[in-house]
Amino acid sequence: METAPAARRRMAVSLESVPRLARGAKLRLDETRGRWVLLVPERVMAPDDIAVEVLQLCDGEKSVAAMIKILAAKYAAPPERIGADVIEMLQDLADSGFLIEGRKQP
């Protein structure tokens, strides 16, 4: 059972991963409530400001390492300190199927 196709679709997030949102996950500004939301099947998630920035970087082109570098520069924080947090958050989303290995087909 554990070798079913869905298992292969789930991503193990590493510094080399190139993540993007899956088709069922949509990040948008909720203008009525003045905040960003991540829309997924049967749920509306409310990412905090930094999580929104991380999600906006998940464009299917940047690696996680590149994302961490951008965030570290912006917040003047050491990459090793924020790296683990970013990977943990992305892994949670990947485990739920909302984030997939990116590189869109040309």
């Binding site: 088709r23 829309l39 990947a94």
Partner: protein
Amino acid sequence: MSPTVDPNSLSLRADPQDGVALLEGSNGSVAARYGIPLAVLLELTHRCPLQCPYCSNPVEMERTSNELTTEEWKRVLNELAEIGVLQVHFSGGEPTARKDIVELVRHASELDLYTNLITSAVLLNRDKLEALADAGLAHIQISFQGSEASLADRVGGFRNGHAKKIEVARWARELELPLTVNAVMHRQNLDQLESIIAMAVEMDADRIEVANVQYYGWALKNRAALMPTLDQLDRATDIVENARVRLKGILDIDFVIPDYYADRPKKCMGGWGRQFFNITPAGKVLPCHAAETITDLDFLSVRSNHSIAWIWHNSDAFNRYRGTDWMPEPCQSCAFKEIDFGGCRCQAFALTGRADNTDPACSLSPLHQTIFNTAQTEAESGSKRVIYRNFSGGTLEAEPSDGA
């Protein structure tokens, strides 16, 4: 820094992790505190090729001639997007029985609404599904009545339905549509739960909703044929808990238990008029898809001269059981009143004749023990023969398939 994504959710079902914190302001009048829901259920039609005996549609179904037109549904979608709704669930009946389903999905997507299709799948062909995907459909939920054709097709009252559903699920995967398996559970299929979960994994679904039947409307008519035994429920709970661990990262599992066997009532709809509404085929705006079973309430329609937001905030039907002020004892002084909001009004009405009575699912209801005993008795001795749902008030199954 510590990025987080709050998993608090808005759900169509009673769910302890609901998104209320996101929805409510901190002050204002009772009505003003209830912000517009994030998600809305649109019942496009009551027509359906299946005849499931637990259908959540009302027993008195809406005729085709009363259904909102394409233009009316588009106007509804415009209004929903404008007032801040984020997700729409196209449901029915069978929503693909509407010829304009692709057009409506496209219209909703263009408004940036997240679109979900809740379908039996049996009317879909691959071209239609591809058209829906191209129109921006974000997610599809396909109902399954069992893990194998003989039981599933009998419960749905539709020949070869099960095989068709499996085929559509495969197309959904090929089109990269996120897929949820909806499994409605009752005494006659609960023993297939393990294989239904395995089936969902096999078809590469992202999620499965294991929802035990809730007994109003059609399901109440069929309660004796559907009520599970306590043993079955205990086993099902074990199976789900076990599968959640084993399938973490592979299949998300939602589980709704039947409340006749519970001690505490479910937080039905997240509380009446609190975070949910649905729109019926004829355009009535309801606090719950079963609300029309409460016969002394009047529900306003999108065809009235009131806006949807006005109906949500101000109509008598939404305000009648909103919050906690309406509650009689023992609910009024109950420590849990802001946790479960008194359970289910439709169930209170169906079983006690008054919607403001304590939900008999609650152990504090004087009827609780009676309901529990009824459930047990029906589960042990009830017939398997069902009344199929249809427009003529239901049809008793021809003959039991195996020794009921």
